[in-house]
């Protein structure tokens, strides 16, 4: 009857609703795929990395604090030496030094681009920064090997490999990242801050240093932590200039090693399932956890410093 037909037509999903539902399902499938991939990666690295402690019975504290790394040979105590402290110190040392050296240059370049020469500063520096970001890291490593290492050798003596060479290479690599984010942070400071400061009679430098930079500090910090996260995970460029000696670095110009450099140079020479391989996966697990930590720090800074 007419009523039933009308009722059926009202209760059935309209075409528009079905199309929307399909679109929602497709987007959900995409995001489910991404989440699945990330979870799978975490699970894989964690299961292989933790196998060192469960399967091969390596003590976690020994792993983090002992200083000799030779998992393929049995050491003087009859067990293989799996001490990751030299690599952890190397990674952190190179990352922090590169961030400390890069920050003043980045802030200076960003200030020049935004406050001092707004018309042509950005026009010249922006393409330069984009170019620097686009150069592959193996090119940086090769230039470091051919130019930075002999220069350090001539000035300081020694072989030229070490944390200092790694710092130089990483400084150039993270400079564009930190500069871009600092520029964004300074741009985000509302212009009425500057106007109010000028109305109070402040000079340009006073406005810049006491008002603009202070207000942009959360964004600048975010940029620095971003740069540090990139430096921490850099493998190829660092491996070519740091010397890969698995011992505690006694100064900046003696060969050292980082988590990433030991991983890339060792992973091809090990068999899956053996202790050497599991030990390398434990290093990878440390890297993954550190990048998670960097992520959390960035979000925490962002939340705290959000302009209310």
């Amino acid at each position: 009857m007419e009523e039933d037909k009308i009722r059926a037509a009202m209760l059935r999903k309209s075409r528009a609703a079905r199309i929307e539902q399909r679109g929602r399902a497709i987007s959900f499938a995409c995001i489910a795929l991404i989440v699945l991939v990330v979870v799978a990666i975490f699970y894989f690295v964690a299961s292989k990395g933790l196998a060192t402690f469960y399967q091969n019975k390596v003590n976690l504290w020994d792993f983090l604090s002992k200083t000799s790394w030779s998992p393929s040979t049995t050491g003087p105590h009859g067990k293989p030496e799996v001490g990751a402290l030299p690599m952890i110190i190397g990674s952190f040392g190179v990352t922090f030094l590169a961030a400390i050296v890069a920050t003043p240059f980045a802030i200076g370049a960003a200030l020049f681009m935004t406050e001092i020469a707004t018309k042509w500063g950005a026009k010249i520096l922006q393409p330069v920064i984009d170019l620097l970001v686009g150069i592959p890291s193996v090119v940086y490593g090769f230039i470091g090997l051919s130019v930075v290492v002999p220069a350090i050798r001539n000035v300081f003596g020694g072989t030229g490999f070490g944390i200092l060479a790694g710092t130089f290479v990483l400084f150039i690599m993270i400079l564009p990242t930190v500069t871009s984010m600092t520029v964004d942070a300074i741009h985000a400071v509302p212009s009425y801050y500057r106007s109010a400061s000028a109305a109070l009679g402040a000079t340009r430098w006073q406005t810049t240093s006491r008002v603009v930079l202070r207000a942009a500090v959360p964004g600048i910090l975010t940029g620095i932590v971003f740069g540090m996260a990139r430096a921490f995970g850099e493998a190829l460029a660092v491996q070519m200039v740091i010397g890969n000696a698995a011992m505690l670095p006694k100064d900046l110009i003696s060969p050292a090693s980082t988590l990433t450099s030991v991983l890339t140079s060792g992973i091809g020479n090990t068999v899956m399932g053996s202790l050497e391989n599991n030990a390398l996966w434990s290093l990878a697990l440390i890297l993954l956890l550190m990048s998670l930590a960097f992520n959390l720090v960035i979000r925490w800074i962002g939340k705290r410093g959000a302009l209310k």
Binding site: S68, S70, S72, T73, F161, G243, A245, P255, G268, N269
Partner: protein, 137 residues
């Protein structure tokens, strides 16, 4: 300068030169090409690598008065050498066996193998087994 820990070159060096003495922790590089370049450009650097990679950028040294030449390897006066292996799962059969025989024949050993800088196995005057015992062929 060392090679990376799982490297075959390093294993050969440690077996025939170091013996029981553990190697000192030093710089490690993964590839022979990088090692050669670093040794060539760093004064005072020393490392070890296969005959096939030696070129005019680096100098070779004598060990125990014996020079690293092919003739010295043939007679085992130069001890630091190792066989290259081909691995099969189980005994080689059919096409696999024919390929292995082809590689071991003089046709390949005296031309391609020599061209790549390696030593033909048929030129060796001695045989060394896995435990290090040497017998005259």
């Amino acid at each position: 300068m060392n090679r990376a820990q799982g490297s075959g070159t390093r294993a050969t060096f440690e077996r025939w030169v170091m013996g029981d003495v553990p190697t000192m922790t030093a710089q490690e590089q993964d590839s022979t090409g990088m090692v050669r370049q670093i040794v060539a450009s760093t004064p005072g650097a020393i490392s070890y690598m296969a005959f096939s990679y030696v070129n005019k950028d680096v100098k070779t040294v004598k060990v125990d008065g014996v020079a690293p030449t092919e003739a010295n390897v043939h007679s085992n006066r130069w001890h630091i050498w190792a066989y290259e292996h081909m691995y099969t799962r189980g005994a080689a059969k059919g096409l696999t066996k024919r390929f292995i025989d082809y590689v071991m024949s003089d046709q390949v050993q005296q031309t391609l193998v020599k061209q790549m800088g390696y030593i033909p196995i048929n030129d060796m005057q001695i045989v060394r087994d896995v435990n290090g015992r040497v017998t005259r062929q």
